[in-house]
Amino acid sequence: MTGQLNWLKGGIVLGLVFLLSVFFVKPIGVSTQFVILNGIIWNAVSGDLVAKNPDAKSGYSSSNAYLNKSGGKYAKNVAKPLNYSFVYVLGMVLGAFLSVITKGPKANSLDRVAPEVWRTKFGEKASLRYFVAFIGGVLALYGARMAGGCTSGHMMSGMMQTSVSGYLFAVAAFAAAIPTALIIYGRK
């Protein structure tokens, strides 16, 4: 299993990873942890973002309405960063690194700055690619939080449970992504 896997092997291992997560703990989700990391940073700076609250369902509450929703479950995870979902995402960084050093597909130094399709269209200037990647991140995570999940939580985990939210999200994401990619990058 060196280099990039073909679609058959790749699909099988990806499916098994999603299955294992549901079997042992719960469905995979990533985008919430951007909120939790924001909360951790915000709380470290201001110190009073989240607080213990015996009246809240989770035992924690927050002055931020979003962290306070659903009985303060996000507030609790901000107060206790060493929780399953947050460490899971840290584990993902480690896992991709382990894949690189065990003969996974390797990106060259140019690819690590911008993919080839970008360089062909917009040149090798790093700052433009970094700026656009930043804007893409703003859009992607604002959208993911508005939707209550991202590609892993809604599309993969949702559709495997036949959740209607997963189908709605997948159709919407591709309906915007395909025309956007065609306009920006073209087909050539």
């Binding site: 058959l8 899971y88 995570l141 999940g149 449970q161």
Partner: protein, 188 residues
């Protein structure tokens, strides 16, 4: 124990995202501009396989239904999905694959993640403005699935037939699409 399983399962996910090419923005952009559907085949096969095994496992009582987590369907899923799709196409990253790309050593992923933190923060501070608007109004009863699951609190669209039947049909259809879709498409 919880932290160790989070680290292991997260690392496995990051490892696999890298091995299937999902953390490579080139592969993502080529999928979205319809020149190389490799990742599409991987995603569809992954969902199909995970879903089929999940529903067989639920029927046989091997899977604990308490581990399921169906997300709410509401208008924000669609609008947020559109926004995420645009950010995904612009950058070539979604929240999960951006995190994996960081572990892979891609520099543009740092800017995607920084943008993602800003985007998630913008949602945290604008969330209260959406409360009470149509954006958070539920669709079809909110937590709703196509196929019946052992969780009675979830609404079901096809509530007259055992869940395994529609789930396996959907999985089969997704699997066939994955198999029949072309990989690389010549651009003309």
């Amino acid at each position: 124990m919880e932290i160790i399983s989070a680290l292991c399962l997260g690392a496995l996910f990051g490892f696999v995202l890298h091995r299937v090419g999902a953390s490579n923005p080139q592969k993502v952009i080529n999928m979205l501009r319809l020149t190389d559907l490799h990742l599409m085949k991987v995603i569809l096969l992954g969902i199909a396989l995970a879903s089929a095994i999940l529903f067989v496992g639920l029927t046989l009582g091997i899977f604990d239904p308490a581990r399921l987590s169906v997300k709410t369907s509401y208008w924000g899923v669609i609008i947020g999905g559109l926004l995420l799709g645009a950010g995904w196409a612009v950058s070539g990253y979604c929240p999960g694959t951006g995190v994996a790309a960081l572990g892979e050593g891609r520099k543009d992923s740092i800017f995607f993640i920084a943008g993602g933190l800003v985007g998630a923060w913008l949602y945290m501070i604008t969330y209260s403005a959406f409360k009470g608007t149509f954006l958070l109004d539920k669709i079809l009863g909110g937590k709703v699935t196509l196929a019946q699951t052992p969780r009675e609190s979830y609404a079901v669209l096809l509530d007259k037939i055992p869940g395994i039947i529609p789930a396996l049909i959907v999985a089969l259809v997704l699997g066939i699409i994955a198999w029949r879709l072309p990989g690389k498409i010549a651009s003309d």
